[in-house]
């Protein structure tokens, strides 16, 4: 038995932000700060319009966020997953209720299955697509198929629970035994039920198909394409978690500087300073892992499975720590509905289950790195 890690040490590549990425970040932040400040995000959670379709339209039309990872000749902007990750940081920072993560996953999937017409429509923001698998399914393990064709025809039968970013999707991409079924979400035989969800800013949809017409995409690459899409999704989700964690730290630092008790700024207490310092250290690590996984996705690196699993396992825990510390250090006000701390807590708690828990990703790493149970 070899005592070394398989694959050695791959080249890390650039982990910094380029000027173009900085500009993209600034554009997204300016739009989101104006269109979806936290009080608007909170107010929306009490309505029957959980997705901010107007913000999504502006993000896709004015900035073109959906087309970033798609080559120009396939109807996209010809950027890469690195830029997608920067957008995810900003949307995580704002807990923006838009279907960006689901779109990224669907885009990765469509890119790998040759569905160029639909891919171009998604990249242009004309249509939105969602991969209909349970939200907690992660790369590296088979996704159970719960929808099948009725007989030999192209009508589907079955149920998928807890799908993300399907509330406003136009198209559902449903794994079936033979491959991938493409279903019109508003078509006959499709029932979508939006569930009350722990994360009010990214609500789950339970999908039932009963005689729904579908187009079946087959081919040897389809299973691998779903796995790859989930892996890229995990890499992008890590950047969302990074953005969320940074927001929680910044808000908490600001609050502790402003709040006085016992005649002192809360920020002057060493017990609190050290907790914030530890959180800052954890966030610098989250940034390094998120950037590396985005770099690997962008370059289709053979190290992507390890990079994405490390980023997912690490950033899940850092975002959760940031949200929980943030809530605790805000004290009583942080427990109230009128304060945004709970929006970040709920997103962070849900994100840590999305696309595979930290435990899931560590178990995948055990296989990849020859560290068996």
């Amino acid at each position: 038995m070899s005592a070394a890690v398989p694959g050695g040490t791959p080249t890390t590549g650039d982990l910094l932000y380029s000027d173009i990425e900085d500009d993209l970040r600034a554009s997204v932040r300016a739009l989101v700060d104006k269109q979806a400040p936290w009080d608007a995000v909170l107010a929306r959670t009490d309505t029957d319009q959980p997705v901010d379709t107007d913000l999504w339209k502006r993000l896709t039309q004015e900035i073109g966020v959906a087309g970033l990872p798609v080559p120009e000749e396939r109807g996209g902007a010809g950027a890469s997953w690195r830029e997608v990750a920067v957008v995810a940081e900003e949307l995580g920072r704002a807990v923006a209720p838009v279907p960006f993560l689901g779109t990224a996953i669907a885009t990765a999937l469509l890119s790998g299955t040759g569905e160029d017409e639909l891919l171009a429509a998604v990249a242009a923001g004309e249509r939105t697509a969602a991969l209909a698998v349970g939200a907690t399914r992660g790369a590296g393990r088979p996704v159970p198929v719960t929808v099948e064709r009725q007989g030999a025809g192209d009508l589907l039968q079955g149920t998928v629970t807890a799908v993300i970013d399907a509330v406003t999707a136009d198209v559902l991409l449903v794994p079936v035994s033979e491959g991938l079924a493409i279903v019109e979400a508003d078509g006959d035989g499709v029932t979508r039920t939006t569930a009350e969800s722990l994360d009010m800013t990214r609500r789950l949809t339970d999908v039932t198909v009963d005689g729904a017409p579908a187009r079946i995409v087959t081919g040897p690459g389809v299973d691998g394409a779903v796995d790859r899409a989930l892996r890229i999704g995990a890499a992008i989700l890590a950047s969302e978690q990074l953005g969320l964690a940074e927001r929680c730290l910044a808000d908490t630092v600001a609050y502790l500087r402003e709040r006085h008790q016992f005649g002192r700024q809360l920020a002057s207490y060493q017990a609190l300073k050290h907790r914030l310092a530890d959180l800052w250290v954890a966030i610098t690590q989250a940034r390094a892992t998120a950037r590396y996984s985005a770099r690997c996705a962008a370059d289709d690196s053979p190290d992507l499975p390890i990079a994405a699993a490390v980023a997912a396992a690490h950033c899940s825990e850092v975002a959760l720590l940031a949200a929980e510390e943030g809530l605790q250090l805000h004290g009583g006000i942080g427990f109230t509905w009128e304060h945004p701390a709970h929006l970040f807590l709920k997103r962070a708690r849900a994100d840590a289950l999305l696309l595979g828990s930290a435990d899931h990703h560590r178990s995948v790493l055990a296989d990849l790195c020859a560290l068996p149970s």
Binding site: V5, L16, L256, R257, W280, R287, L365
Partner: protein
């Protein structure tokens, strides 16, 4: 040309030009036949020692980031080493401080034999009464004509028993507020009155030293920086220390997690679900720390020096400690044995080659040496996050009146 002048084409030296110079140098100095000391002195003279240093002082005024390729080319040709592990304090801390604060005569006197490894350096900063509160050092330096007379005790002094020179922080004005009464000196470790004693540590070994200074005379031309400026000079030295300990690129699974993972692979009979989970968590955290160190290096190379170095050091200290502790647990009964508590001077060697018990014990120092993790958290909280500084009882009092 004076020592601090740059060569005329300093800015235009790129990687290709440097590679050509290395090749030219190697053609003229065959590493397999040239005496190592002569080779290293010639390499220094050619400006290929540390290429970002000025011409005449071992460099060519090139960019810092180009050094790695030069070192790699020399190593590939089988060139002799300049004792980098033994002289880690000289190369990493004393040299940049001399370059920054020394006058021309001091740079020309000390830098050549420092770089070649002919002279090993140590650092005489910490004292029994001044560890984290380094600005409180009590070793006194009293002016006597053209010299200073030193008295006091230093501690935690690595390499003092090998060192020819030491960088030292001493109090030249006890009447001043503590940060303002310090000066910075270079001490000849062979001077009369310098006594180095091994300090036995929890590993059983005497890796560090106590250094006793009794009426040690130091010529004034061995002072770095102005009288009373010692704290600024020392801070510059320490900034380089944190970079030296924390930064740089490391292979995946290097360091403490590497020993742990290797043990895991070799002993499947010891696996349990609980140990597995703990090991995987440490593996992920170590990989995250490795990428963070690499990102820090990229920031520094791009001219954006970040404060992340403090964070990297805190993290490596913790991971070394946790990985080595888990490794002992994984070893079971074997984890109860210890190789050797005999008091002795250790060789400078790879931690990975030492027994697991020794590593567990030695890594306890990682969160103490080079800035405790607690002080580094203060640094991050105050300098990065902008939180208020700790309340200070010593700000306006003369050093001599502080309680101790």
């Amino acid at each position: 040309m004076t020592a601090t002048d740059s060569p005329p084409d300093a800015g235009s030296l790129d990687a290709t030009a440097l590679a050509a110079r290395v090749e030219e140098f190697l053609a003229a100095h065959d590493p397999s036949t040239t005496e190592p000391g002569e080779f290293l002195r010639a390499r220094f003279a050619a400006g290929l020692a540390w290429v970002h240093y000025p011409a005449g002082l071992g460099g060519l005024g090139a960019e810092n980031g180009l050094q790695a390729a030069v070192d790699a080319a020399f190593a590939a040709a089988g060139s002799p080493e300049n004792r980098p592990r033994l002289n880690v304090i000289g190369l990493g801390m004393a040299a940049p401080t001399i370059l920054r604060f020394g006058d021309d005569a001091q740079k020309e006197r000390w830098l050549p034999s420092l770089w070649t490894g002919e002279d090993i350096w140590c650092q005489l900063f910490s004292e029994p009464g001044a560890g984290s509160d380094l600005a409180g050092v009590g070793t006194s330096a009293v002016r006597d004509g053209d010299a200073w007379v030193l008295n006091g005790q230093k501690v935690w002094t690595s390499m003092a028993h090998h060192a020819r020179w030491g960088i030292l922080l001493a109090r030249t004005d006890p009447e001043a507020v503590k940060h303002r009464g310090l000066s910075y000196f270079v001490v000849d470790m062979t001077a009369p009155g310098v006594e180095v004693r091994g300090l036995r540590q929890i590993t059983g070994e005497a890796e560090f030293n106590e250094v006793f200074l009794t009426d040690v005379r130091i010529p004034d031309d061995q002072r770095l920086g102005e009288v009373g400026q010692g704290w600024a000079v020392a801070q510059y030295t320490l900034m380089n220390e944190r970079v030296a300990i924390g930064g740089g690129t490391l292979p995946r699974e290097s360091g403490a997690v590497g020993s742990l993972a290797a043990r895991w692979r070799e002993h499947p009979e010891a696996h349990t679900p609980g140990l597995h989970d703990r090991m995987l968590r440490l593996w992920v955290e170590t990989e995250a720390a490795r990428l963070t160190a690499e990102r820090l290096g990229q920031q520094q190379a791009a001219g954006q020096p970040g404060p992340e170095g403090s964070g990297v050091k805190i993290t490596y200290a913790r991971l070394n400690q946790e990985c080595s502790s888990l490794e002992l647990e994984l070893r079971g009964e074997d984890g109860l044995r210890y190789a050797d508590y005999t008091e002795r001077r250790p060789e400078v060697e790879d931690y990975a080659s030492r027994d697991a018990g020794w590593r567990y014990l030695r890594f306890r120092a990682n969160s103490i040496e080079g800035g405790t993790s607690e002080i580094l958290r203060n640094v991050i909280a105050e300098r990065v996050l902008g939180l208020p500084a700790e309340a200070r009882a010593d700000k306006d009092l003369p050093w001599k009146d502080l309680p101790r």
